[in-house]
């Protein structure tokens, strides 16, 4: 069942030597921040401080970070139920993210959305969506707007391979291709649609699906953030210049369960498989090794970045825990615009 092919990823990354070191360090910081954020979310769940559930992005950080790095602040994204990473990568603030997860008034949606619905139009985030494939129409509509208004924005639609089972995705991809809309569909193939391996529910080669609509399609290692960034940058600019939609499949892995609390996973995957990904294909390790080997970055600098991120997480969760809940009068505001 294991999809693991490469264990020594850093060695083949010489192509990226021209990348700006500051940008690479920024991506490292973003990966670390998302990882620590998600670990804290799990803590909040385990200590019963968070209402409801959350779907952790740990293991997949390089996809969100690499793609977001290729976007402008005014570009759009839509996200998924496993969306914290996308929101943070696009620029959401940690404290207001935590506040939303705890249902507090200072959260991004005033506590009305929660983990699965964080929206932040100021950073181009049109919202995480708890319907699998739910962002497909919205992201394609944002790309339609961009073309209609001529404002040169690109939309990125993040979704997991589970969304490949939703018909609406194919309806909008057809129109995106017909009308050459500036959109990149980013399929995060983390191998598991909830608790089922994707090969049990997806027939054929998934690359053939977007290709059937004449959409430019690429499949890459989603654990290698520099590969994700360089590919996304190319596809985003292609879309921005009128080259039409692209479909980017990122092979990745969900370290945790489908949601917090999904801890007994042996019935759908082995612990050995999980360990292999964590040991050999971890996105932060891959980038750290590359930075040390190719850019002479000291371990101490990376530790400094981690410590800084950890401080931000601690301050953010503290802010959220102390923040007030929304006033009961807010229950029926914002129903209509």
């Amino acid at each position: 069942m294991s999809e693991i092919q490469a264990t020594n990823v850093a060695a083949k990354q010489d192509d990226y030597l021209s990348l700006d070191v500051e940008q690479c360090l920024h991506m490292y910081e973003q990966i670390v921040k998302i990882r620590l954020f998600e670990e804290q979310v799990n803590e909040l769940y385990k200590t019963a401080k968070m209402p409801g559930l959350a779907h952790l992005y740990i293991g997949e950080e390089a996809v969100a970070v690499g793609v977001a790095e290729a976007l402008k602040p005014t570009d759009y994204i839509t996200s998924t139920h496993r969306g914290h990473g996308h929101c943070l990568a696009k620029g959401a603030a940690i404290d207001r993210m935590f506040a939303e997860l705890l249902g507090k008034a200072s959260g991004y949606c005033r506590g009305k959305g929660g983990s699965m619905h964080i929206a932040d139009p100021e950073t181009g985030n049109l919202g995480a969506n708890a319907i699998v494939g739910g962002g497909a129409g919205i992201a394609t509509g944002a790309a339609f707007s961009s073309k209609f208004l001529g404002n040169n924005r690109v939309a990125v639609c993040f979704f997991g391979e589970g969304a490949l089972g939703q018909g609406v995705l194919y309806e909008v991809m057809n129109m995106a291709s017909l009308w050459k809309l500036p959109i990149v569909y980013v399929c995060e193939n983390n191998l598991y649609t909830e608790y089922t391996h994707f090969t049990e529910v997806a027939a054929g080669d998934i690359q053939n699906r977007p290709a059937a609509f004449g959409i430019h399609t690429e499949k890459i290692d989603g654990q290698d953030v520099l590969k994700v960034y360089s590919t996304a940058a190319r596809l985003v600019e292609r879309a921005r210049k009128g080259g039409g939609p692209a479909f980017l499949i990122c092979d990745t892995y969900r370290y945790s369960g489908h949601h917090v609390g999904d801890i007994n996973r042996e019935y759908y995957r082995t612990k050995l498989e999980e360990e292999e990904w964590k040991t050999n294909r971890d996105p932060s390790k891959i980038l750290a090794n590359w930075l040390i080997t190719n850019k002479n970055i000291q371990v101490s600098l990376l530790e400094e970045i981690e410590n800084r991120a950890q401080q931000e997480i601690i301050a953010g969760v503290e802010f959220a825990l102390n923040a007030p809940y929304p006033d009961p009068s807010e229950v029926n505001t914002n129903v209509y615009a």
Binding site: Y76, Y108, H117, N129, E171
Partner: protein, 340 residues
């Protein structure tokens, strides 16, 4: 007074009669002209002007960039509409038959209706879904339903049911200017109905019922196609000495509860008529509003008349049995007024 004077059909500079289809086309053309963010998308909306020919001529004036033929992908182009509305456009999405709402409900009910609330008010979805309703066209079970109860059930949506060319134009213009998602049901059989429509600019606010006929003995609350049925019944009842008041809520949400209740208080009897399935339908909600608000004034139980609780049959011999008619409404009114 439920109907402000400026919205009365009698104040217009040039009296002219046009069809409901023409009134709708005029509303769309005026809004497309007024606001460059408005576009129309649907199946065969451009050169074909839809199978009902309601949109004929619009693509000639506004071009294929704004009157856009989409593939047969109702969910897809509705979803694109939701995203476009969230990012600065004002889409008018054409869902040819109301029955096709079955294909689109995730986009309408889970996306459009909820985005504003879920985002804490930061995102808006100013989108209009135009669709149709109405049986007796011999179109069978998948092209004949009146599903206005579905969106009426969902918080976040506004639902419009015009019954005259005048109302159709004014309500559609209001819908396009509204910042919330709106679903409009147009009765297919009324597209050729003629009525007075002023040439000048006007809009009709949502949540304001219209008294289509005043009366004192019984209230007939009716929507869309059933307004004509209620008016026909009221005319016959008048000949029998029963004075019926006909109230058209025009929007099921927002709902002008006060006008319904006040009329029922005055007449002490009410029948609610809507072409949707009677079971768990629009009639149930409206009847409940009247019962709640006018209980101590009522001399009879509030009665509901909707479509029969069966899939709409094809054969004329069967289909005609499924919808409320003038005769059935007259019969029911006579019972309530103790005249049988």
């Amino acid at each position: 007074m439920s109907t402000p004077e400026q919205f009365s059909t009698t104040v217009n500079t040039a009296v002219r009669e046009i069809t409901m289809a023409q009134a709708i086309r005029e509303a769309l053309a005026e809004e497309l002209r007024r606001d460059p963010r408005v576009y129309i998308m649907g199946e065969d909306v451009a050169e074909a002007g839809t199978p009902f020919k309601v949109l004929l001529g619009l693509v000639e004036e506004f071009g294929p960039q704004r009157v856009i033929d989409a593939p047969i992908s109702e969910a897809g182009f509705s979803g694109i509409g939701v995203g476009a509305a969230m990012t600065g456009l004002r889409p008018v999405v054409d869902i040819m038959f109301g029955d096709f709402l079955g294909l689109v409900m995730d986009q309408i009910a889970n996306q459009a209706a909820k985005v504003h609330y879920m985002s804490g008010g930061k995102l808006k979805v100013p989108i209009v879904f135009r669709t149709t309703m109405g049986a007796t066209r011999r179109s069978a079970a998948q092209h004949s339903q009146s599903l206005q109860a579905w969106p009426s059930h969902i918080p976040g949506l506004k639902v419009v049911l015009p019954s005259t060319p005048f109302d159709a134009k004014g309500l559609l213009k209001t819908a396009i200017r509204d910042d919330s998602p709106v679903v409009i049901f147009e009765d297919k059989l009324m597209y050729q109905l003629k009525g007075i429509v002023p040439e000048g600019e006007y809009t009709i606010p949502f949540g304001v019922a219209d008294i289509k006929r005043t009366g004192t003995d019984i209230t007939l609350v009716a929507t869309s196609s059933m307004v004509q049925v209620a008016l026909g019944a009221a005319a016959q009842l008048a000949e029998m000495g029963i004075s019926a008041e006909v109230i058209d809520p025009r929007t099921t949400w927002p709902l002008d509860k006060e006008t319904l209740i006040e009329s029922a208080k005055k007449t002490s009897r009410a029948i609610v008529i809507d072409e949707g399935y009677e079971r768990y339908g629009v009639t149930a909600e409206l009847a409940s509003v009247i019962m709640d608000g006018a209980f101590y004034y009522l001399d009879a139980p509030v009665k509901r008349m909707g479509a029969m609780n069966v899939p709409v049959p094809f054969s004329p011999a069967l289909e005609d049995l499924t919808v409320p008619t003038v005769e059935k409404v007259v019969e029911m009114a006579k019972v309530l007024c103790g005249r049988l």
